[in-house]
C-alpha cells in the first residue's frame, strides 16, 4: 500500500474494529450484570 495513505486507511479500519468490539462486548457485559442480579434476587427469594 502507498505509505502516504497507510495511516489514514489503517486507522479507519482500526476504528471500525473498535466499534464492532464495543458493540459486541457491551451487551454481553450488560447481560452478565443482569443475570447476576437476577440470580441474587432468586437466591434471596428461595
Amino acid at each position: 500500500m502507498n505509505e502516504k495513505y497507510e495511516l489514514y486507511v489503517w486507522s479507519s479500519y482500526g476504528l471500525g474494529a473498535a466499534v464492532l468490539l464495543w458493540n459486541l462486548l457491551l451487551p454481553l457485559w450488560r447481560r452478565r450484570a443482569l443475570l447476576r442480579s437476577l440470580n441474587e434476587a432468586r437466591d434471596e427469594g428461595e
Binding site: M1, S12, L15, G16, V19, L24, L34, S37, L38
Partner: protein
C-alpha cells in the same frame, strides 16, 4: 402470518427466537466482514484517482448506510410502539440507539480520514457532513432521553416520539448530495442510476458488498442481544425469565457461584463467553 407475528412479539418466545438467531447472524456478519476487509485492504486494486486512499470506502460506506438504516428502523419501531403499544417495539427503539450512534460516529470519523487525503480537508460544512452530524445529535438525544426517566416505558415512548420527529432528517442526509452542490461525491451504489450503470468496477465492488452485508448482519445480531437484555430487565419478576433465562445455557455465566450447569451448551455461545471472560480484565466485577 399475524399469529406468528404476535407469538414472536411475546417476550419469552422472542427471547428464545433471538437466542437461536443471534449466534448465526453474528458468525455470518463477522465472516463477511473479515473476508470483505481482507479483500478491501489487499485484493481490490487501487483507484485510478485516489490510489489506496479509497480503501476507506469499505469501512465508511457500511457505517454510513447503517447510520441511516438504524434511524429509520428506530422510527418504524417507534411508530409501532406508539400505535399498538407493543412492548417489544419500545425495547427495539431503545436498544437500537447506541448501536446507531456508534456507527454514525464511525461514519463521520472515517469520512474525515478519507477526506483529508482526497479532498484536502478533514471537515467542510457542506450539506452531507452537516446533516450526518445532526443525525449523531439525534441519536445522542434519544440515548440521553432514555436515561433521563426512571420509568423504562415512559422513557422508551418519549424516545419513540423523538425518533419519529427526527426521521425527517434521514432523507435530507441521503439526498443532500443531489439537492445541493456539495463537496461530497454522489451515491456509488445506493441510487437508481448506479444500479443501471455501475459506478464502481466489479473488482472493487465485491468487498464493499461483503462488508455492507456483513455490517447489517452484525447489527442485527447485537441488536437482538441488546433487545434480549432490555426485555429481561423489564420483566425481571416474570416467571418466564426464571424458567427460560436462568435455566438456559446462558446462565452458565453465573454458574461459577451457583454451581449449576446449563443443560445443553451451544458451542457458539461457549466461545462467546470465553471471549467475554478475556475481554473483561477490569470489567464489571
Amino acid at each position: 402470518m399475524w399469529t406468528w407475528f404476535h407469538r414472536l412479539a411475546s417476550p419469552p418466545s422472542f427471547y428464545r427466537f433471538a437466542d437461536r438467531l443471534a449466534p448465526w447472524l453474528l458468525g455470518l456478519g463477522l465472516l463477511l466482514l473479515a473476508v470483505g476487509c481482507y479483500g478491501g485492504l489487499f485484493i481490490a486494486p487501487a483507484d485510478y484517482q485516489q490510489g489506496d486512499a479509497f480503501r476507506v470506502i469499505y469501512v465508511h460506506v457500511p457505517a454510513a448506510a447503517l447510520s441511516l438504516f438504524v434511524y429509520v428502523l428506530m422510527a418504524v419501531a417507534g411508530a409501532i410502539a406508539l400505535v399498538w403499544r407493543m412492548k417489544l417495539a419500545e425495547c427495539a427503539v431503545v436498544a437500537a440507539a447506541p448501536i446507531g450512534a456508534s456507527f454514525t460516529a464511525l461514519a463521520l470519523v472515517t469520512g474525515m480520514l478519507w477526506g483529508k487525503p482526497t479532498w484536502g480537508a478533514y471537515w467542510v460544512w457542506d450539506a452531507r457532513l452537516t446533516s450526518e452530524l445532526v443525525l449523531l445529535f439525534l441519536y445522542l438525544g434519544v440515548i440521553g432521553l432514555n436515561q433521563a426517566y426512571s420509568d423504562a416505558r415512559t422513557a422508551a415512548r418519549a424516545c419513540a416520539w423523538l425518533a419519529l420527529v427526527g426521521v425527517v432528517n434521514v432523507p435530507i442526509v441521503h439526498y443532500s448530495v443531489q439537492w445541493w452542490n456539495s463537496l461530497h461525491q454522489g451515491s456509488t451504489i445506493l441510487s437508481l442510476e448506479a444500479v443501471r450503470d455501475p459506478k464502481i468496477s466489479s473488482s472493487m465492488l465485491w468487498p464493499l458488498l461483503l462488508t455492507l452485508s456483513g455490517s447489517f448482519a452484525f447489527f442485527f445480531a447485537v441488536w437482538l442481544r441488546r433487545l434480549q437484555n432490555e426485555v429481561v430487565a423489564r420483566e425481571r419478576g416474570a416467571n418466564w425469565v426464571r424458567d427460560c433465562v436462568l435455566q438456559a445455557p446462558l446462565a452458565a455465566v453465573s454458574n461459577e457461584q451457583s454451581g449449576m450447569t446449563g443443560p445443553e451448551l451451544d458451542p457458539s455461545m461457549q466461545s462467546r463467553q470465553g471471549r467475554q471472560r478475556h475481554g473483561e480484565p477490569r470489567g464489571a466485577d
